[in-house]
């Protein structure tokens, strides 16, 4: 009787394991774009305040908008050009245009087997016009896919 138990376990367990071992390729559910994450503040109060509306597009890509009159965006996601070492974005806050220019280095990062690779960046202090923007402060210079603020925009 005792010698029959292991054979029984072997047959049942092997069958179960074969069934369980069939697997399907996974899908990518992670963020693969590393944006500059910009949070807005009112200069007068120094408190976080989403503009009534923002429009954002890249210089040289005027017909393609990242945001178009988007309402009450508290944190804007600004894409960088991984094929270049610098790029400029036009940011229209409450109908007033400013341009922010980023200079950065780019490196590759494996996100996961399912998602593949992303480009991360390390930015320098950006240059910007001051039509409505008062100050841009770099909070975290490493631009990753993580949800963490990179710059503060005071307007």
């Amino acid at each position: 009787m005792m010698r029959k138990i292991p054979k029984y376990i072997l047959i049942v367990a092997t069958t179960v394991i074969f069934l369980l071992s069939s697997c399907s390729p996974g899908s990518c559910f992670e963020e693969t774009n590393a944006y500059v994450k910009a949070k807005f503040f009112l200069t007068s109060t120094s408190k976080a305040a989403a503009p009534d509306s923002i429009t954002l597009y890249g210089v040289g890509r005027e017909n393609s908008y990242v945001y178009l009159k988007a309402l009450k965006v508290s944190q804007a996601l600004m894409p960088l050009d991984a094929s270049a070492e610098n790029c400029s974005l036009v940011l229209k806050i409450n109908g007033v245009n400013d341009t922010i220019s980023f200079t950065y280095s780019t490196y590759s990062k494996l996100i996961s087997k399912e998602c593949g690779y992303a480009f991360y960046h390390s930015i320098e202090t950006p240059e910007y016009t001051k039509h409505i923007i008062d100050t841009v402060i770099v909070v975290k210079s490493t631009i990753t896919t993580l949800s963490e603020q990179n710059i503060s925009i005071y307007y």
Binding site: N33, V66, S83, G116, Y117, F119
Partner: protein, 245 residues
């Protein structure tokens, strides 16, 4: 009457101990080649030798070769290399159940993977357009720990089959932290700090020594005092067979 008593004594002597053959085994992992016939992107060849130290413990030494490639819409990746595993295996079956033919237990192995890998192309799309790049080949040594659990049984004389579920924990990846391989030979998915695996083995064994192992008697349950008092009369009437049943 005397004959029955002698036979009974003999049976008791046999139950006291069991003879276990200690073996040296050599085997092959068979799921790797089988998978390769259906999926040419992954070739995994693995073999092992194992030597019994006693009825509970054996020493495992495994080695293998992996050639892995993976492609999806945004990148192409290849990795290959050799790996080694070494460590003790413990049979958790009682000797009278294992009888040198069955193994159900755990193994604790140290793993070493010598890998090389390359991402021949990858593509990334964002607002600014599509960027295509590649990553040059890299190589290194990865160290990991593995805990295996499973079952093996002697199917024919000295011929065994079995399976093992492996849980592996990377100790040192030996790779660029931003660009680790997505697959380590012997370890598996490089994107995970813990990797799972499943192996099916066939093996041949050569007994090199027989040992006699004492069987621990099964503990006899002592009746509780109340029951003992209540059943005292009954116990006396039915004799020893009734105790603890």
């Amino acid at each position: 009457m005397l004959y029955i008593q002698a036979a009974g004594q003999d049976a008791e002597q046999k139950a006291d101990s069991v003879v276990i053959p200690l073996r040296i085994s050599a085997g092959l992992e068979i799921s790797g080649p089988v998978i390769y016939f259906t999926d040419k992107s992954t070739l995994n060849l693995e073999g092992f030798v194992s030597g019994d130290i006693n009825e509970k413990m054996s020493v495992f030494l495994g080695t293998g070769y992996s050639d892995f490639s993976y492609s999806q819409y945004n990148y192409n990746f290849t990795a290959k290399g050799i790996y080694f595993r070494v460590g003790p295996d413990f049979n958790l079956l009682r000797p009278e159940m294992a009888v040198g033919k069955y193994w159900a237990g755990l193994g604790i192995h140290y793993g070493l993977s010598n890998f090389s890998y390359e991402t021949s192309s990858y593509r990334h799309d964002n607002y600014w357009g599509s960027v295509t790049s590649s990553l040059p080949g890299q190589s290194g040594w990865a160290h990991y720990l593995e805990v295996s659990g499973g079952f093996k049984a002697e199917l024919f004389r000295n011929f065994n089959i079995g399976w093992l579920i492996n849980v592996r924990k990377m100790v040192y990846s030996g790779a660029d932290k931003n660009l680790p391989p997505i697959y380590y030979p012997g370890y598996g998915n490089g994107g995970k700090t813990i990797s799972f695996g499943l192996n099916y083995y066939i093996s041949w064994s050569i007994p090199y020594k027989k040992i006699k192992v004492k069987i621990k008697p099964e503990p006899v349950e002592e009746p509780e005092e109340d029951e003992e008092t209540q059943n005292q009369d009954e116990t006396q009437s039915v004799g020893r067979q009734g105790i603890g049943r």
